[in-house]
Symmetry: C4
Subunit: 240 residues, 4 copies
């Protein structure tokens, strides 16, 4: 990851984890993730510290965390959001990275407690349908294991969906979470959610009740980039 995705430049802060050893190769309590938080430069300069592969070379601020939540590498306390990430790694077998941000437009949709409907091809290039918003947490879910329950409602909402076809969700009244095959993909998907959220906000300003994209066009664009017969981009180069 050489440059901050453009849509995230104003986000300010990015939390990203990478799976080092995970449920696919070990029981859940042997899972280890690597956690990194970065302040993003707003001006497009390169940054090297978020999701630098799996471990930052200089070890700055990174932590290894076991599936049980214990720090197994590094000296800092784990992020309070670690249990949310762990819940996603446990539930979504294919993923290798999770990222969350406070990005403006995606957070606004989360606060509005609304799915982002698929309104155009920019959306369809990244998601196979609406970007789902979870239900609000209940009082009991807030009182105990709040962060783990945040992961739980995401997993609940994604039930029956391929998490690589729906690589992000909005947590009601909270913010977006994104994931992907690698931490780099997770960050790119976090940027895509922000871009798509902003586009949707600007679209409903022009037309409050827009017609959704034709299902065939949604499928066409998604598969053009993500399907087995994808033909977008250069050979050996996958977009997002």
């Amino acid at each position: 990851m050489k440059k901050v995705p453009r849509a995230l430049r104003l986000v300010g802060c990015l939390c990203c984890t990478a799976l080092v050893a995970g449920p696919r190769v070990a029981p859940a309590d042997e899972m280890v993730i690597f956690d990194h938080k970065a302040e993003l430069p707003p001006d497009g300069r390169e940054f090297n510290h978020a999701c630098p592969g799996y471990r930052p070379a200089d070890g700055q601020g990174g932590r290894g965390i076991s599936g049980g939540g214990a720090v197994v590498e590094g000296e800092l306390r784990p992020s309070s959001d670690t249990p949310t990430h762990l819940a996603l790694y446990r539930a979504f077998e294919a993923i290798g990275g999770v990222a969350h941000t406070h990005s403006l437009y995606a957070t606004a949709w989360a606060q509005a407690q609304r799915d982002i409907p698929p309104l155009g091809t920019t959306h369809a290039d990244h998601f196979a349908g609406a970007i789902p918003c979870t239900r609000p947490l209940k009082a009991g879910e807030i009182a105990a294991e709040y962060e783990a329950n945040t992961g739980k409602v995401i997993v609940e909402r994604l039930a029956g969906c391929n998490p690589l076809h729906f690589p992000a969700a909005l947590v009601a009244c909270h913010r977006p979470f994104a994931w992907g095959l690698s931490p780099e993909h997770a960050v790119e998907n976090a940027a895509a959610v922000e871009r798509i959220a902003r586009l949707a906000s600007e679209t409903i300003r022009v037309e409050p009740y827009p017609r959704a994209i034709h299902p065939a066009l949604l499928k066409k664009h998604f598969l053009r980039k993500h399907g087995p017969n994808s033909y977008y981009g250069q050979d050996g180069q996958t977009k997002s």
Copy 2:
């Protein structure tokens, strides 16, 4: 082209083609276009790689493509959007460049599936009327020859219009395409569409049902810059 037009600085990516040999001087299957894609710097620095005349001196990333879609120069696969551009070159005899972007506000109007009405002189400086939005593609048009059909619905929508008086269109649920006498003009028109779309969005926020500009004022401004008796700017210098 020395500087990124201001309205495009946040666009991120610009796809632009130039006609090298075209329908005006050769049968359609002898047409050759030159294709270039550039990441735009967000801070106003100069950039040299999009639409650098007809061929970039260093050949970076450019491709020559025949009217049949085959690559005749360069090693990269042609952009998946090439058939859209080819359809425009075939239909609009006067044009020498085509550009498309994912610019935010113009894409929002495309997603809203609405023409951008002429609300003021900024609009009238560039377009002789509303910026047209195409109809959505039908299932069959999406299933086969999707990109060529994207060009087809633009051409269909422009029927009866001078493409130099309406140098851009919005493709429903997709994004804007712009064109012009040269690739430089195409890029300038892509910037104008974004600027005009943003102004229109801000206008309808203030007044949801604004009165359109007086037809005489629309014509006055358009012809002041584009007509045979244009008197705007310095001698020998044409604005957009």
Copy 3:
């Protein structure tokens, strides 16, 4: 003028004129204005070429223009908007500079054809009441002497107002014009209009029918900065 006013940084282009000799000291046809157009740097760097006092030291792009519209100094054609500026200098005896821009939010209010109501103290710091919007020009006024008539409808709208208490107006379907004692004040007022327009747009998004500011508070803030007993800022330093 050392720095671009913040609100104008994204404007792109600023046209500004300075009165060299004017109606206060000479018959109208002996009035001379100095005209300068500048591309504004978007990043806050200083710029030296717009309104550099009265004549740019290096003479770049500047023109002296008589009250009759003839160029009396410099080699470039006068701006097509010169007759609008001349009309304002003729009507508003106290002013020494005029500036116009295409700034986004003020232009949106002009396109919406609405006065900007005084909603808060930021507005009241610069204007003694609503920022007026002119009526649209009639067909005959567009057909002949269009630019001079643009000035005429501004003057008509300001009838009975002190132009230093209402140092800007929106021309319906066109854009804002601002003026002031000097060209520097004109540019500052152009920036104030943009700032106030944006604030008003964001206010009506939150509350579509906001209550206007209390007339006593409007007067208090305006006179705190502009009245004979102003007490804002340091001695000998006038704000805007």
Copy 4:
């Protein structure tokens, strides 16, 4: 304070005061505050002159002001807003810094004369409930002691609230004021208000009547950062 908080970068100007000796240790008329005003760089560069602890090393532009309003250090006239700050220091015993800005979105909510409702966890990370908006001042309050009365309506509105749990307020038709244990906290809270105001504006664009955050979630997030059992961030490090 090493860097401008991101949300304030476009604010332009920040006024901040620090309590040097105050009501907690001396009668009100022996209170001394230190006043500093800074133009904020828009590009994220560090700045050293606003709230530099208590006194800028180079003394640039700073003033010491007694509780009676007299300048006891420095040569410049006190800011016209000083009486507002003094009123807050007198009423809120725990605070050590006050900051006010003209930040865009918070000012828009002030002009709309509406409290900012708690719509999500970003809000809850900083405020224990809605960000309160004062009533408009009455004619008599504007005519005499206007700036002191501005402080009075803030104090009136905060009645019964812990000012450290509600560290900012909007003054109707005017702008936001923020405070905190130190001037650094006051500036961070001014930035939080702007960020939260913008998020709320974007949320109501998507959903005009959003459901407020669950009271348990509001409390959870506020106490996670601010309560005696806070567990957010590293040991010995307090967030905002």
